[in-house]
Amino acid sequence: MNRRAFLRTTGAALSALALAGLPVKAQSLEGEDLANLEKALKETLGKGFKDLTPSNLVKLTMPAIAESGANVPAEVEVNLPAGQVKAIHLFADKNPTPRLVSFMPMKAMPYYATRVRLAETSAIRAVVETTDGKLLLASASTRVTVGGCG
């Protein structure tokens, strides 16, 4: 076996390993305080909480910088027909209680706006439960100058 062939085969094997190894841990979530977030996700969504699909149907609007974490506007809109959305949940990775809100649009359109408290600079997640059991995810990030929980 010459050097070129050796590199080709080991390279392919390594990348296959990397691809197989990744989904177990990293899935679709990236960030620092995932243990905190995953606990809240599990409490809210139950067993299947790891099956999150990033989707551009979910639009989460957060300010890039918030001067005060005590009052941060958050807006989420789902680009799906009204009947197909079972619930919309919002989470902030680094809040003491990561779950911000759960919204059940029964006859309403899949849209929710509110103002939230953020403890510190953190990633915000919108998780949408559809009626056919899928979990769609959108993330945003807000820099917080002064925290709103302490």
Binding site: N71, F103, Y112, A113, T114, V116
Partner: protein, 108 residues
């Protein structure tokens, strides 16, 4: 003490079939239970954990906010304006206090 609640619609008089935004603002401290007063004592949690929207007596939306909601919170929803009627927003906090606000939907 009842929670003061103000509800409004934008646009105020939508056409039939148009989207209408319903916004409810409540006067409430929404204490998350993590804040301390000037003596360092924890302020007990007291926040709104149930928001229900009714249209003509029928429940049309429900939100369950957690403790991380801002003081004097705002809740925004969107509906399709189909027929005239009355929206009622009912709030409940963790201490059992309730609030209620109504707004009439009139079609242009």
């Amino acid at each position: 003490m009842p929670i003061r609640t103000i509800v409004r619609l934008t646009p105020a008089k939508p056409k039939a079939g148009e989207e209408v935004r319903l916004q409810a603002v409540a006067q409430h401290p929404n204490e998350p239970g993590t804040r301390r007063d000037e003596r360092g004592n924890l302020i007990p949690a007291n926040y709104i954990n149930l928001v229900e929207v009714y249209f003509e007596g029928e429940k049309v939306a429900e939100a369950r906010p957690g403790p991380s909601t801002s003081a004097n919170p705002l809740y925004g929803f969107k509906f399709k304006a189909e027929k005239p009627g009355t929206f009622t927003v009912k709030l409940k906090d963790t201490s059992g206090d309730t609030g209620e606000g109504t707004v009439k939907l009139e079609l242009a």
